[in-house]
């Protein structure tokens, strides 16, 4: 199956799975560790991938949330993410996809402008987080946010669906005047 679908399997009992897609393997690993350290009522499963499509021979649980990690210092990572976006089903974007941009702190090393990533997130109507994954404090904060988001996307928070969360996060994504 080359295209990822959101509700293709039965969910695991009390399990929530997140898929982190990005080219920075070491940092993704660190982020995954930070997320596992978080206090969470549900069991977390974190999958890391360099790019989509995922190999179809592996038996993996249902994916509740995909985070695309873009490194603002490397154009290749943006290209990679854009390529991978084509292998995601449209229904995933109803709150189960997010973008994480790293490296915005070092303005001099950025080869991708912030606006490019903002535009990308706006095009796919998904939330965008900025984080410097190399700093432990920031990593822990973003891990906390991701765990909460994941819980909601997996349906473990009664009364809030992924789409509700997405609507609530909308405020930072008001369309720019040029989009109108």
């Amino acid at each position: 199956m080359s295209v990822l679908r959101p509700l293709d399997k039965q969910p695991g009992l009390n399990t929530a799975t997140i898929l982190l897609v990005g080219t920075e393997d070491a940092l993704l690993q660190q982020l995954a560790d930070a997320m596992l350290k978080e206090d969470c009522a549900s069991e977390l499963k974190i999958h890391l991938a360099r790019s989509l499509p995922l190999p179809s021979d592996v038996n993996r649980p249902r994916i509740d949330l995909i985070m695309f990690v873009v490194n603002l210092h490397s154009k290749y990572s943006l290209q990679n993410v854009e390529e991978s976006l084509r292998h995601v089903d449209a229904t995933f974007f109803l709150g189960k996809v997010g973008f994480l941009a790293m490296g915005a702190g070092q303005e001099s090393h950025c080869s991708i402008h912030r606006n490019t990533v903002t535009k990308l997130a706006n095009t796919y109507r998904s939330p965008l987080f900025f984080c410097d994954l190399e700093r432990e404090g920031f990593r822990a904060t973003v891990a906390q946010r991701l765990v909460r988001m994941l819980q909601i996307c997996a349906g473990h928070v009664p009364g809030v669906s992924a789409l509700n969360l997405l609507s609530l996060l909308r405020s930072s994504e008001n369309p720019a005047p040029e989009d109108l």
């Binding site: 679908r5 399997k9 089903d89 974007f93 509700n164």
Partner: protein, 271 residues
């Protein structure tokens, strides 16, 4: 609590059954829900997939989101809340969990509020200090201001005017005094030569004009110097007694015109 204990002990076997009953009920509910989910899953797997490109992403996603939100909304409106199992044990356990969560949350809130409080106190102290310093500055400035005020004498136009008037009056008086003294001095030491004219009647031409005193010559010279500064020269008239002119010229009080020997001027002593 002790009364309850006594009641429970003889009924311990039935109590265990109650617990297992409650458990079984819960498990049954879960199984039913799981079956429902499997049914939904089957329906979902029949829906086709669709990928997005950059160009059509925004619009199609917005439409999709709108549809899903309306569907969710209608679902919420249809649904009526289900009561959870009314079994005592279940409720007690649930209650305990809720209270634990509440306690943790309240502790968080407490610590946040406390730290905010402390920060506010620090801010207040800092602002207070600043205020005190500013007040001190204000006080010292006020003192300085008062001091300066006292030193400055009030300016009144009329007073200055009066002062100038008196000055002028004094100077005029002095001038008058000087002129009188000069006149007296000149009269005493440089009188008009009445006697001499009579002796040398034959040789000397009789001056047709009356001779004027040295005082008057000086007056004419002074007036000319101040009336017409760019041309302070006057022609030597017959009424000037020549020896006196010689006297003035020799002593540097008067000067001849460089080109015309019949003109003299007063030396500009004031420049």
């Amino acid at each position: 609590m002790s009364v309850n204990q006594q009641d429970l002990d003889p009924d311990s076997t039935t109590d265990m059954e109650d617990i297992t009953d409650a458990e079984e009920k819960l498990i049954k509910e879960c199984e039913e829900l799981w079956k429902d989910m499997e049914g939904c899953q089957k329906k979902l797997s029949l829906v086709g997939t669709e990928t997005l490109t950059d160009s059509n992403a925004q619009l199609s996603l917005l439409i999709m989101q709108a549809k899903c939100l309306t569907a969710e909304l209608s679902q919420w409106q249809k649904e009526s809340p289900e009561i959870i199992s009314l079994n005592e044990e279940v409720l007690v356990t649930l209650g305990k969990e809720e209270f634990q969560k509440l306690r943790v949350d309240l502790e968080l809130v407490l610590s946040t509020v406390q730290s905010k409080n402390e920060k506010l106190k620090e801010d207040l102290e800092r602002e207070q200090q600043w205020l005190d310093e500013q007040q001190q500055i204000l006080e010292s400035l006020n003192v300085l201001h008062n001091k300066l005020k006292q030193q400055v004498v009030t300016f009144s136009e009329s007073r200055v005017f009066d002062e100038l008037n008196t000055k002028m009056h004094d100077i005029k008086e002095y001038k008058e005094k000087l002129l009188i003294t000069l006149g007296e001095f000149l009269e005493d030491h440089f009188p008009l030569p009445d006697g001499n004219v009579k002796k040398k009647k034959k040789n000397v031409k009789e001056s047709t004009a009356q001779l004027i005193t040295l005082h008057e010559i000086l007056e004419i010279l002074i007036n000319r110097l101040f009336d017409v500064p760019h041309d302070p020269y006057i022609k030597i008239r017959d009424s000037f007694w020549p020896p006196y002119i010689e006297l003035l010229l020799r002593n540097g009080i008067a000067l001849r015109h460089p080109e015309d020997p019949t003109q003299i001027r007063l030396e500009a002593f004031h420049q």
